[in-house]
């Protein structure tokens, strides 16, 4: 019984974390972006490590828990909508966006969380990763992910495709001013 309660508590907490991350920037987000941004938070804050695990995957670090919660939330019902990927979209994993009810729940949860000083760094970090990474295309995000976390990559057609396009993608990142010449050189030189 105690174990069931602990699992439920963990699941509820993770759903709340996902809701806070979804609401941190009021626009839909790809599953690819959501998972990677959750991964950065997982690396950032020790408390978040308790709620999810990441394994290697053909699209970089992957969390089964996030996938499950997005498709089948147990506690936060009707807070977000999952939009499956388009037919030829092999990168994003689909999209998720908050419903009006979800936005209202987000505001309530954000207000409650803001009152807790321990949540301050996590709430700010969520806004930070949404601001930093939402603006990248799926290909640009994957290029940075594959290069930064080789231990989480699995060889695949997607990986090969990004490798073949890496110069073009790195050029784009420089043109947009997102990376500097040092990072460009790293990306283009890497295998």
């Amino acid at each position: 019984m105690q174990q069931i309660n602990a699992t439920e508590t963990r699941s509820r907490a993770l759903e709340h974390l996902i809701l806070l991350l979804l609401g941190a920037h009021d626009q839909r987000i790809s599953i690819l972006h959501l998972e990677k941004e959750a991964f950065f938070l997982w690396n950032f804050h020790p408390d978040i490590k308790r709620f999810m695990k990441f394994i290697s995957h053909y699209r970089g670090p992957y969390s089964e828990e996030i996938e499950q919660i997005i498709r089948n939330p147990f506690n936060l019902i009707n807070c977000w909508t999952y939009i499956p990927p388009a037919r030829y979209d092999t990168l994003t994993g689909g999209y998720v966006e908050l419903t009006p009810h979800g936005r209202s729940e987000y505001r309530r949860l954000y207000a409650a969380s803001s009152a807790n000083p321990q949540m301050g760094p996590i709430l700010a970090a969520m806004k930070m990763v949404r601001e930093l990474y939402d603006k990248l295309t799926p290909e640009e995000l994957l290029l940075l992910i594959y290069d930064t976390y080789p231990e989480y990559q699995k060889k695949s057609n997607v990986f090969d495709g990004i490798q073949k396009s890496k110069k073009r993608l790195a050029d784009n990142l420089v043109k947009k001013g997102f990376i500097d010449e040092d990072r460009y050189a790293d990306l283009v030189a890497s295998n």
Partner: protein
């Protein structure tokens, strides 16, 4: 009211090591709320971090902010312990809480990164010299005498050859930024 300041290690080392004027540093620390992280603390000289007055005047956070921006810099272990990126993270958090007044980043790479990626943060990003000028002439938290004393000490350390690059300032930056700031504060002082 925004009165929080986050600075990378250059700012602290400038006062404590380059010009060896801990008293000036403490004047700054008493005038604003200073926040920093463990990585920056590790970069600072032990006599400073062991100083009880210093510890009382700062607030320290211990989170790995570099993890949030790591993909933009890659796996290069050279950056893992860079306090500048920690300063950006703490600055971002304080800005989100409407507390941040200044984010002092003297190194060009993190300074450019912060301004490019976080447009709302850009007006708060400055270097040590810009901070001193604004603390004096905009916020009136530092007297013109103290501001000038600090900047002239830096100039002196550079021109006397005592330090090669005090506060990361070379002769070029001295001409382009330091001397105009000294001139500005002098004129402000006379005008006031």
């Amino acid at each position: 009211m925004r009165d929080a300041v986050v600075a990378d290690s250059t700012f602290y080392s400038c006062c404590a090591c380059d010009i060896e004027r801990k008293d000036i540093l403490f004047k700054f620390l008493s005038s604003y709320s200073f926040f920093l992280g463990d990585k920056i603390l590790e970069e600072l000289p032990k006599p400073l971090t062991n100083d009880k007055d210093f510890v009382q005047l700062i607030t320290a956070y211990n989170f790995d902010y570099f993890q949030l921006i790591k993909p933009y810099f890659g796996r290069n272990p050279h950056h893992i312990n860079d306090g500048e990126y920690e300063a950006i993270g703490i600055g971002y958090m304080l800005d989100a809480q409407d507390k941040l007044r200044f984010l002092i980043l003297d190194d060009r790479r993190p300074n450019k990164f912060a301004k490019k990626h976080f447009i709302h943060l850009a007006p708060r990003v400055t270097g040590t010299i810009g901070f001193v000028q604004e603390a004096c002439c905009e916020d009136h938290r530092i007297s013109p005498e103290h501001a000038l004393e600090f900047l002239l000490e830096i100039e002196n350390a550079l021109t006397s050859g005592k330090k090669e690059r005090p506060c990361s300032i070379d002769p070029e930056i001295c001409t382009a930024i330091l001397m105009p700031a000294i001139e500005y504060i002098r004129n402000y002082h006379v005008g006031a």
